[in-house]
């Protein structure tokens, strides 16, 4: 649920423009951080993880209308900087496919990218004695909860203005002068209720995915960006 499927022209212009500006700033910081990285190794990993995210995001879990993002898995596998770039790539391609508006790419990237960064940070902050499955699942659960609150925050500050539709409110029989106002509590209830089940599913899947990778191909988790931090893990915490 932390990917907004809001069509173009619904959010106020200043909000989505701010989203693009902030996204550009964070992308700039990520590129700065990666300026000395060996891109030949990173680009295939970036492409593969972004593609897996795309496949995951195109699969709807019915009847929740929820799709998993795998953004925390991307953060753990790629690190925060590349994880944020993967979030941008995924959102751009999704928008190219008509899945979410073009004007909300900035805000969606900030949401999804923050999940990658936060998921990565929490994963490495959690006790290394904890099995990889539970570390990932817990990091995913907390990350998705925070990101969903951020999503509700964005929607609530959007203050969708009834005046936006005032042209039609004058049409006979439409009576929209008091309609079109976003009920934040209604939106929050819907997103948090449906989202909770989605977080559980995504946490379990993310945990299982990272635990499987830690068993089968642990070098994917120990790439150059955080090799030192993970070496201890591979010895002690992988179950």
């Amino acid at each position: 649920m932390t990917h907004m499927h809001i069509p173009d022209g619904v959010l106020p212009v200043h909000l989505w423009l701010l989203g693009f500006v902030l996204m550009a700033l964070v992308l700039g910081l990520c590129l700065l951080r990666l300026r000395n990285a060996d891109l030949k190794k990173k680009i295939p990993l970036l492409g593969a993880v972004s593609a897996v995210m795309l496949v995951a995001m195109s699969l709807e879990i019915l009847p929740l209308a929820y799709h998993i993002n795998l953004s925390v898995v991307a953060g753990i596998l790629l690190g925060p900087a590349l994880g944020f770039i993967a979030a941008f790539i995924t959102n751009l391609i999704l928008a190219l496919m008509g899945h979410g508006g073009i004007t909300v790419i900035g805000l969606n990237t900030l949401l999804l990218g923050s999940e990658a960064v936060l998921g990565h940070t929490l994963f490495y902050l959690l006790s290394r004695r904890m099995p990889v499955f539970w570390r990932t699942a817990l990091a995913t659960m907390v990350t998705l909860c925070i990101a969903t609150v951020a999503l509700i925050g964005i929607v609530s500050v959007s203050h969708i203005d009834p005046e936006l539709f005032s042209h039609e409110s004058q049409a006979p029989g439409q009576g929209l002068s008091h309609e079109g106002t976003l009920s934040v509590s209604r939106f929050a209830t819907m997103v948090l209720t449906l989202g909770f089940f989605g977080w559980l599913i995504e946490s379990a899947i993310s945990g299982a995915v990272v635990a499987f990778i830690a068993r089968v191909k642990p070098d994917l988790l120990g790439h150059a960006l955080h090799r030192d931090k993970f070496e201890g893990d591979n010895r002690g915490a992988v179950r």
Partner: protein, 234 residues
């Protein structure tokens, strides 16, 4: 599932007026339609714009029934969002049309432009790592979609799907996704190594033209028409 392989086939095989126009003109066309969706206050105006796009797509030989069906994919999420709005049928309809019209324009762009041209244009404005990442993602997506089909068939053949057993199904699907990640990284690494051997150094061999030419009249005039329709609708 997004039918990327079919989109790629349409983009590479067509020869209509939309296929012949330059990618930059089609990007301008898309921006004009997005602007129309942003400023639209009437669903009828935008619906008329959507109708105009349908006519242009049909006359240009684009696979308009499939494009139309794909564009409605965006309506599902717009409908979910509009349900949280205190508004009637009118507003829900406006939100849905705001979702499907830019989506249709976007699909018209991608089904009429081969992906190297799109990525070439993008690589001229984006940093190398992002442009290369976009390209690798797009290529890896095809491989993943094939793998997904094989995975689904394999898991059924081996009795991996058990109706009613959520735990068993989730565990199998999770392991399948994990296997997908591992294989995707291996394949992407191989593809990238082959590309580097063949001379790839972060940019596409085919440079995108950023100049307009006479054949660009169709996307440009269609975009302007949709925007004017929304602006002048009373």
């Amino acid at each position: 599932m997004i039918d990327v392989a079919r989109i790629d086939h349409w983009a590479a095989s067509g020869s209509g007026p939309f296929h012949r126009s330059s990618p930059i003109a089609k990007v301008f066309f898309l921006l004009l339609v997005v602007s129309a969706a942003v400023i639209a206050k009437s669903p009828y105006a935008l619906l008329a714009g959507y109708g105009a796009l349908l006519v242009v797509a049909a006359l240009s030989g684009l696979p308009w029934p499939r494009v139309m069906a794909l564009s409605w994919y965006a309506a599902v999420f717009a409908l979910l969002y509009s349900l949280s709005i205190r508004g009637g049928f009118w507003i829900r309809m406006l939100f849905i049309v705001k979702a499907i019209t830019p989506s249709f324009a976007m699909l018209m762009l991608i089904v009429s432009t081969p992906y190297p041209k799109i990525f070439s244009l993008l690589s001229s404005v984006l940093p190398e790592i992002i442009a290369a990442g976009l390209f690798m993602t797009y290529r890896t997506l095809f491989i993943l979609l094939d793998m997904m089909d094989n995975f689904a068939a394999a898991i059924r053949l081996r009795g991996g799907f058990s109706p009613g057993s959520l735990y068993k199904n989730s565990a199998n699907i999770s392991q399948g996704i994990a296997m997908l990640v591992v294989r995707a990284v291996e394949r992407a690494s191989r593809i990238y190594a082959v590309m580097v051997v063949r001379g790839y150094s972060g940019s596409m061999a085919e440079k995108a033209s950023v100049r307009l030419h006479p054949e660009d009249w169709l996307p440009l005039s269609t975009g302007v028409a949709v925007l004017l329709l929304v602006l002048l609708w009373k």
